[in-house]
Amino acid sequence: MTGPEPRVERLLREHAPQVLGAVMRRYRDFAASEDAVQEALMAAAQQWPREGVPDNPRGWLIQVASRRMVDAVRSETARRQRESVAALEIGQVVAAASVESAPDQDETLILLFMCCHPALTAPSAIALTLRAVGGLTTAQIANAFLVPEATMAQRISRAKQTIKGSGVPFQLPTAKDRAERLSAALHVLYLIFNEGYTTSVGAGLQRLDMASEAIRLTRSVYELMPGDAEVAGLLALMLLTDARRLARTGPNGELVPLPEQDRSHWDRSQIAEGVALLTATLARGSVGQYQLQAAVAAVHDEAARHEDTDWPQILALYSLLERMSDNPIVTLNRAIALAMVQGPAAGLELLASLAADGRLANSHRLDAVRGHLLELAGQSPAAVSAYQAAANRTTNTAERNYLLTRAATLRESQSEATLDRD
């Protein structure tokens, strides 16, 4: 399956949320409008490269989507002999120009809030956001998640039913709900980014670049809400993390950990943009989780060599984060920073209390970090077993390969009895 040419594809994705917003404003039915817009986007993807991009692309899309909407309502009506379809009353297709005159920037936000509705599971919210706000086709999303297209279509359709059932009106959340809904939306964008970032390893399949898609969506939210510190923080976090992408995998798709990355492959301009964004945001006062995570990423990015990393600052940032959120993964990261500042014993002690807490009992990450700290402490045999335990538990192939290799390296250096540690 070949997509449309990149220029057309970019144009379509940019217009998608506003087109959907306009269609929804007229017909109210989110699920049906979303389907109609999807069809219009696919029609454009076929026609525009052949016949040229229309002078008013958005108007064209709105018009085609509206026609589909009317057709769908008519055929549904005919089939079911149903008379009370309110949408038909306003079924006349309004001239595209008059629609164009009312561009409403808020619509992208309203859509995002709807797609990231708290009633949805994370995978559903992600899929729906990519389709309705990101303007991607079901096939592209299915491909990105390596599931059959029919499965993804069903997931999206159920998500829309859930939203319909929840009776959320198509408007911005009230002031009371707004902060909560925004944080749910940002979380979905964050998950899309992570999905892209962690699966970008290897394979070399022609898959949608979800990390870039997440950055694009977050950037558009940032442009609509430049004053929100956490939106800026999330965008900065993505830019500062994604900047290391090229250095993160080796020639055979193997994971390269931070200390061993070739820092000349980091994207300097992306780091500069992220740092500038973060600096401007932190100067304004209120500090949230994404800003703190972005600050950690910035400290790493700004170290010329791994040895130059400002670990005391990272430790301070993780301590702040820990106070803000009761997340065991944050504590896990703090244990690494603590080990780098006060020595591995201090880090291992913190890990022991984390193990007793039980929330990470079934996660491979606790063992992976324990292996790392034991290795730092020179306790090779224990480190090898911790790495192997983590390798047995992880469900990510690249990570498993990394852990196995790490354990093997350690075993070999042990048996050679050379204590030439980096």
Partner: protein, 131 residues
């Protein structure tokens, strides 16, 4: 015709990759990646998955009231499914050839493992005149 190629490895036998030397682990991983790449390039690749370790496996069946009853874990089982490929090939002979190539993945010291690969044809839909 589609075939599933199921790679069985011994629970306590030679496929104990965690205990291999580093260069052998790397050679094994590179070999598996190369097989998948070749299958994609030849247009025969349908899917392939590696499974997480058998020490996480559970047997599940419905209890009297319909709630799941789980049994396990089975770290000491003699054989387990480590992963599978699904390929779309011209003939069973070709499926056997692919299986045999995968079977000879390198193990410790680069020696071929010659693992058991179970090859089964995937059922297809009824022919058009059946409908």
């Amino acid at each position: 015709m589609k075939y599933i190629l199921m790679m069985h490895t011994k629970g306590t036998g030679p496929y104990q990759i965690a205990t291999w030397p580093k260069k052998d682990i790397q050679a094994h991983i590179a070999f598996m990646r190369a097989i998948n790449k070749k299958l994609r390039e030849s247009g025969e690749f349908v899917g392939a998955e590696g499974l997480s370790g058998p020490d996480q496996a559970k047997l599940v069946r419905a209890g009297a009231d319909g709630t799941p009853v789980t049994d396990g874990v089975f770290p000491e089982s003699k054989e387990f499914l480590a992963g599978y490929w699904i390929v779309d090939v011209e003939s069973p002979t070709r499926a056997y050839a692919i299986a045999s190539e995968a079977s000879a993945a390198p193990g410790p010291g680069g020696v071929p493992l010659n693992m058991d690969i179970e090859v089964r044809e995937v059922m297809s839909g009824p022919p058009p005149d059946f409908l």
